[in-house]
């Protein structure tokens, strides 16, 4: 029975311990020295999704994975990669899901078409009514 509780405690405590145990990657919480590169990295990080969180970018998450991704983004930008190259590399690894940047594609076009359509319809309706009155 006692062994069971120790086992249980280990299972419960393990994820926390794992999180604390491994030190965060160096650039997870460190900015690049070159301000232009840091700004570019920051802008990119704000459009990348933290895969472990709900609706947070990697720029504002404490999750260990977000830290690792920030580290990756910063060292790649520092190595001279363009933000788009870094994004493409991350998309290749994690899929389209990782990027918040809206791209018009076969799966996303309704996101842009529907609002425009709506305003056109509303405009038409009201235009007709106003004309009828004049």
């Amino acid at each position: 029975m006692k062994a069971f509780f120790i086992l249980l405690a280990t299972i419960v405590a393990f994820p926390l311990a794992a999180q604390d145990g491994a030190p965060p990657a160096p650039f997870a919480y460190r900015q690049l020295d070159n301000p232009a590169q840091e700004a570019a990295a920051q802008e990119l990080m704000e459009t990348l999704r933290c895969l472990k969180c709900q609706s947070q970018s990697i720029a504002d998450s404490d999750a260990a994975m977000a830290g690792d991704m920030r580290h990756q983004v910063r060292i790649r930008i520092a190595a001279g990669d363009s933000p788009d190259e870094v994004r493409d590399w991350l998309i290749e690894r994690y899929g389209d899901y990782v990027s918040y940047e809206p791209v018009m594609s076969a799966t996303t076009w309704p996101l842009f078409a529907i609002p425009v359509l709506l305003v056109l319809v509303a405009g038409l309706l009201f235009a007709r009514r106003f004309r009828r009155r004049a």
């Binding site: 919480y29 504002d60 404490d62 809206p102 799966t107 709506l118 009155r133």
Partner: protein, 650 residues
């Protein structure tokens, strides 16, 4: 015992909702004089009392931490401070739904008790609709989310409450939003009542308006508070994440804003009848949708929803029933309601129509962006829709709306020309145009913050123009309300644009005694020391922060570890000056004797929430002004009636 009393009161309330529905329906069919019709109002009032008893019972079992009640055992803990024990009562699914029906039943009791302006048939239909909506939520609570369920074996200790939620923000945030959601349910009931009797009149709009205004004030406060809570509690300085849960509160607000303006047109000009009814239905749909999104578990994943579908399906069913039913009724009856008074494009009504269309478009953008990822996920395609979509696409509709908002209040009702207000137009236009040039030259800014700052300044000026040439003391209270609310939008917009344009971030690893710079601040880490609380331990970083050459300020942000349930949180510290906030977060050990700090300097960021408060204040003033006028009107009618009786007798 107390828990059982709560449950019994809830069942009785549900029974009274049935009576309220039947009474209303029979009154519509058999005339308002029948015996059962006379029961509709008392049923609604008694129901409010019973649900209040039920909610009080829930508060009681949480206050004494009665661990034989399942909900308490799952969500509370004996070591929690009392305020968080109480707020824990609604910080969970069952409790929050009980809070929802409580507010709803109290609102129903209030309209049944005091609203006597509308034709009695419309009132009966309204109360029947109200009872019908309430009934669905009672069924949901009693059949699938009983908050008073007992455990066969009382738990030894509660499981605790998510530490992120152990905060005064949580104690107040959900109730505020629910007041808003439920206020819109009353507007919805009025809209259904008016549809049933086909009497869409200015009197109807005036009866509905205080509820819209009240709901809108609460939603505004709820969103503002929620945003500030995310800002200081999540520890990264973000104030809006376009998270589906946030969107769930923004969508009803957008619909309520549109409804508020179109109801004003209906009340004072007898125009936009059908559109107002439509918005009444849409606004409550958005509240229901918000509840569905937050409460169904569909947000974590569509697949998680499919694993435990009972509750989600139930709310989805209610959503379909009420919204589908109301839309069907709307489709059947809308043709029978004439469109009302006419007006030209260049008029107050014309501007409000543009405002309504733009608000609806923004609503569509938020709705689409929120639901689209869920939709594609059902087909196993995962799409991320986030700030890079919402910000620019929303802005396409927001900025034209702001431009119309600056000019609209200057126009006259019915028919006007822009020629009459050329001076004002020129002033607003000049401010609008000089802004971008100035900011672009000075700071070389991105386009959205640039537009935001210029529009904010132009709108701030424009919002006061309606007062020009008027004796300030004779301006009606509700006009002050409009001016202040519009000014609040400008203030909040300025805060958002400034935050995104001028914030500076500093991530630093410091030894004790080390100093770093962020913007105009220099921050020195004095000492790192352990601190213990009732259910947590923490590392506190004692720092001194100095703004330029000013007095140093002592701050001590913490990194906290809760143990029930185990979770790490950051307790950030904010140093507020008139021109912005310093945001300091204590990070973890850098493993080389240094400590990680996160620091931000955010110029004028506080204006975001001051703006929100101003908007709410404007709503309160409008509400006060309208209610005063209604009371006066009622008094005058009563006096006239009395005089008529006197004359007949004399």
């Amino acid at each position: 015992m107390i828990a059982e009393i709560g449950l019994a009161a809830l069942w009785l309330a549900a029974a009274l909702a049935v009576l309220q529905l039947l009474g209303g329906v029979l009154a519509l069919r058999g005339g308002t004089t029948s015996d059962i019709a006379a029961l509709t109002r008392p049923a609604a009032i008694l129901q409010g009392g019973l649900v209040a008893v039920s909610f009080a019972a829930l508060l009681y079992v949480f206050a004494i931490t009665d661990l034989s009640v399942k909900l308490v055992a799952m969500n509370s803990h004996t070591l929690k401070p009392l305020i968080f024990k109480l707020s824990g009562a609604w910080g969970n699914h069952e409790g929050s739904m009980l809070l929802w029906v409580t507010v709803m039943a109290l609102a129903g009791a209030l309209i049944a008790g005091i609203e006597r302006r509308l034709p009695e048939k419309t009132m009966q239909a309204t109360l029947a609709a109200q009872g019908f909506v309430a009934l669905g939520f009672y069924a949901f609570l009693l059949l699938s989310s009983n908050p008073f369920e007992r455990l066969a074996q009382p738990a030894a200790e509660g499981l605790g409450l998510n530490p992120l939620l152990q905060d005064i923000g949580l104690a107040l945030h959900p109730p505020t939003l629910y007041f808003g959601y439920v206020g819109l349910s009353v507007a919805f009931s009025f809209a259904v009542g008016a549809l049933v009797t086909k009497q869409v009149t200015p009197a109807f709009a005036r009866a509905m308006r205080p509820w819209i205004l009240g709901a809108w004030v609460f939603l505004t406060l709820g969103i503002t508070a929620g945003s500030y809570w995310a800002y200081y509690e999540l520890g990264w300085g973000g104030y809006w994440f376009w998270d589906p849960v946030e969107n769930a509160s923004l969508m009803p607000w957008l619909a309520a804003t549109a409804l508020l303006h179109s109801a004003s047109v209906l009340a004072s000009r007898d125009a936009l009848r059908v559109w107002t009814i439509m918005l009444g239905v849409v606004a409550f749909s958005m509240s229901m949708l918000g509840t569905f999104l937050v409460r169904s578990g569909i947000l974590t994943s569509v697949h998680a929803f499919a694993v435990d579908p009972e509750r989600g399906s139930f709310i989805l069913f209610l959503l379909a029933l009420y919204i589908g039913g109301a839309l069907l009724l709307f489709a059947l009856r809308a043709g029978a309601i004439s469109e009302g008074e006419r007006f030209s494009v260049a008029s107050r009504e014309g501007a409000l129509v543009v405002n309504n269309v733009m608000l609806s478009a923004i609503l569509a953008v938020v709705l689409l962006g929120t639901l689209y990822p869920l939709l594609t996920e059902a087909f196993d395609v995962r799409v991320s829709v986030g700030p890079p979509y919402f910000n620019p696409v929303g802005a396409v509709f927001t900025f034209p709306m702001l431009a119309v908002m600056a000019v609209g209040p200057l126009l006259r009702w019915r028919k006007d020309g822009f020629g009459r207000i050329t001076k004002e137009l020129a002033l607003v236009g000049a401010v609008l145009l000089s802004g971008p040039i100035l900011f672009a030259l000075l700071f070389g800014m991105a386009i959205l913050p640039l537009l935001g700052l210029s529009f904010a300044i132009a709108l701030a000026v424009a919002s006061f123009l309606p007062l020009k040439g008027r004796k300030l003391r004779r301006v009606p209270v509700e006009t002050w309300g409009m001016v202040i609310a519009h000014f609040g939008i400008a203030v909040a917009l300025f805060g958002m644009a400034s935050e995104s344009a001028f914030s500076t971030e500093k991530l630093a690893a410091l030894e004790e005694g080390g100093t770093t710079q962020v913007g105009p601040w220099s921050v020195q880490l004095q000492k790192v020391e352990p601190v213990a609380g009732p259910n947590w331990t923490a590392l506190a970083g004692r720092m001194t922060a100095t703004y330029r050459d000013g007095e140093p300020v002592e701050i001590a942000p913490q990194s906290r570890n809760f143990w029930a349930p185990p979770q790490q949180t950051t307790e950030s510290v904010l140093v507020t000056r008139w021109n912005g906030q310093l945001y300091a977060v204590m990070g973890s050990d850098a493993n080389d004797g240094r400590w990680q700090l996160r620091l931000w300097w955010k110029p004028f960021v506080t204006l975001i929430w001051y703006g929100g408060l101003l908007i709410a204040l404007g709503g309160v003033l409008a509400l006060v002004g309208r209610v005063q006028k209604d009371l006066k009107r009622r008094y005058v009618t009563r006096r006239a009636a009395e005089r008529r009786v006197d004359m007949e007798n004399g």
